[in-house]
């Protein structure tokens, strides 16, 4: 690891100033320290946000939602009784991610800002436009098993690795951001991420000096069924090949609404409301679910080594929807809102 200066500001104003001046923020550090050891990230100044006051709480909001402080750990969030009852898709997604040790350190804000696990981003001997702009993309024509098939560009096919953010997209979460002026703005979690386009190194819609302070969830969809389905190369402690977060509300025998987000296949935590429109107002069936999957994958762009992800995503979506609509008769899963 290269040497760096380390500071631990006591308030957000000082932290924000350091970030404006080019410092790199650290919270749980489970991703950043790894990247620093490999010299993929070589910050000269690391600013420790972990002792900032007021960012570690989980509170209810006046409209029945939840505000999750940016420093709340993934394990505390997954274990929170309200999250388990009202937002089970989030609890399941968190528990599907990483290991017990990592979840204890990883924070809500840090999880959102974690970097891709594309193997070529990690291999400093290989070209990577995200790590080294204009050097090329080794994943195309390479081993793209962990790479995305939606939202990619000729410059970059890296996938966003988070499980948590996928559930948050399905739940219509907002990211609360402290601006350098001290004012607060909010952004839908999907808009936090930029698609790679012709500049894969620019990943977030954040200005220098801005700090994520919280994630805000709206009130849970009353009576909706929530499920998180993850497919990966081993049973635990592995990133998703494909994952599906589903929040589905039935009206008798028809689907009233479906909120769906996807991991492992998107350049960012993926959501496509056209898929949801296919389902709304219809009676659940495998044919309908297959039609929705075809809409999801209409613009999929695959490499030889990740072409399997299109049919895998289709089957995973069908399976998740069979559970979430009640078609499978599966009883082993969690309802939101204890309805």
């Amino acid at each position: 690891m290269r040497p760096f200066d380390y500071t631990r500001p006591e308030n957000l104003e000082v932290a924000s100033q350091a970030l404006t001046d080019g410092a790199t923020p650290i919270a749980g550090g489970t991703n950043l320290i790894d990247l620093m050891k490999l010299q993929i990230m070589t910050p000269e100044h690391v600013v420790d946000l972990t002792r900032l006051p007021g960012l570690s709480d989980i509170d209810g909001t006046p409209d029945g939602g939840m505000r999750i402080g940016a420093l709340v750990s993934n394990s505390v969030l997954a274990g929170d009784p309200t999250v388990r009852r009202a937002y089970p898709v989030l609890a399941r997604a968190l528990l599907a991610g990483a290991s017990g040790q990592i979840r204890n350190k990883a924070t809500t804000g840090g999880n959102l800002l974690q970097r891709t696990r594309c193997p070529y981003f990690y291999d400093t001997a290989m070209p990577c436009n995200k790590r080294e702009p204009n050097s090329g993309c080794s994943a195309q024509g390479g081993i793209a098993r962990m790479c995305a098939i939606l939202g990619t560009s000729p410059e970059c096919i890296a996938a966003h690795p988070s499980d948590m953010a996928v559930a948050m997209r399905a739940l219509d979460a907002q990211v609360e951001i402290r601006q350098t002026s001290g004012e607060t703005r909010t952004l839908p979690v999907g808009d936090l991420y930029l698609l790679p386009g012709d500049n894969p190194a620019k990943e977030y819609a954040l200005e220098a000096g801005e700090v994520i302070t919280a994630v805000i969830l709206p009130a849970p969809v009353s009576g909706a069924r929530q499920t998180y389905r993850k497919v990966r190369d081993r049973a635990s402690y592995a990133f998703a090949l494909v994952s599906v977060a589903a929040v589905v509300k039935m009206d008798g025998d028809t689907i009233e609404s479906a909120q769906l987000a996807f991991g492992g296949i998107g350049a960012k935590p993926w959501r496509d409301t056209e898929v949801e429109d296919v389902l709304a107002g219809e009676a659940p069936s495998d044919e309908l679910f297959a039609k929705a999957a075809d809409v999801l994958l209409r613009d999929a762009w695959t490499e030889e080594s990740n072409a399997f992800k299109a049919p895998l995503a289709k089957r995973t979506l069908i399976s998740a929807l069979r559970d979430a609509t009640g078609l499978s008769g599966e009883t082993h899963f969690d309802m939101g809102d204890a309805a």
Binding site: M1, G29, I33, D34, S75, I102
Partner: protein
């Protein structure tokens, strides 16, 4: 820079570079070599220690970030002349072969049993409301951050199940 670390109940004042991991500080500066460096990337769990009672990978943490934290290493859990219950169970259940991953396994399992007592569910828990029994499948899932290249997993799971059951009765 100066940092004060509280490890196994003892306070240590150190002058270290910010880039020193907690694992390297424990092993190289404090001589606590029970915590092992396996992968040094958070994938194997051999470096697991407790920070304020919660298990973490000490290789993925900077020592300077742990001022005022209570750190517990395997040396603080039990020594050869005074084994913790879980250590005795690892011996009796053949929960290791070469032993390199064992300190991390035991520290991790110590915290995993506590997490289960708090009612924290896991990915394989049928219900999020009530995690139920600490089954073999639950133990395997909760310990997935600790690898054993000798593959002593059956003995490891058995030892953890015994210790958890003993705590339940206590």
């Amino acid at each position: 820079m100066d940092v004060t670390l509280s490890v196994n109940g003892e306070t240590h004042k150190l002058d270290i570079e910010p880039r020193v991991t907690l694992l390297d500080a424990l092993r190289d500066r404090l001589g606590l070599t029970g915590s092992k460096k396996g992968c040094d990337h958070g994938q194997c769990g051999a470096c697991t220690v407790l920070v304020n009672g919660r298990r973490v990978n000490s290789c993925l943490s900077l020592a300077v970030m742990h001022e005022d934290d209570e750190i517990t290493t395997i040396e603080g859990i039990g020594m050869p002349d005074d084994l913790a219950r879980l250590q005795q169970d690892f011996v009796e259940c053949d929960g290791y072969q070469c032993g390199y991953c064992t300190p991390g396994q035991i520290v991790s399992a110590t915290a995993a049993i506590e997490e289960a007592k708090l009612g924290w569910p896991s990915y394989v828990s049928p219900s999020l409301a009530d995690m139920g029994e600490l089954t073999d499948e639950e133990i395997a899932e909760r310990m997935s951050g600790n690898l054993c290249r000798c593959s002593a997993y059956p003995g490891i799971r058995q030892a953890i199940a015994r210790a958890a059951e003993a705590e339940d009765k206590a």
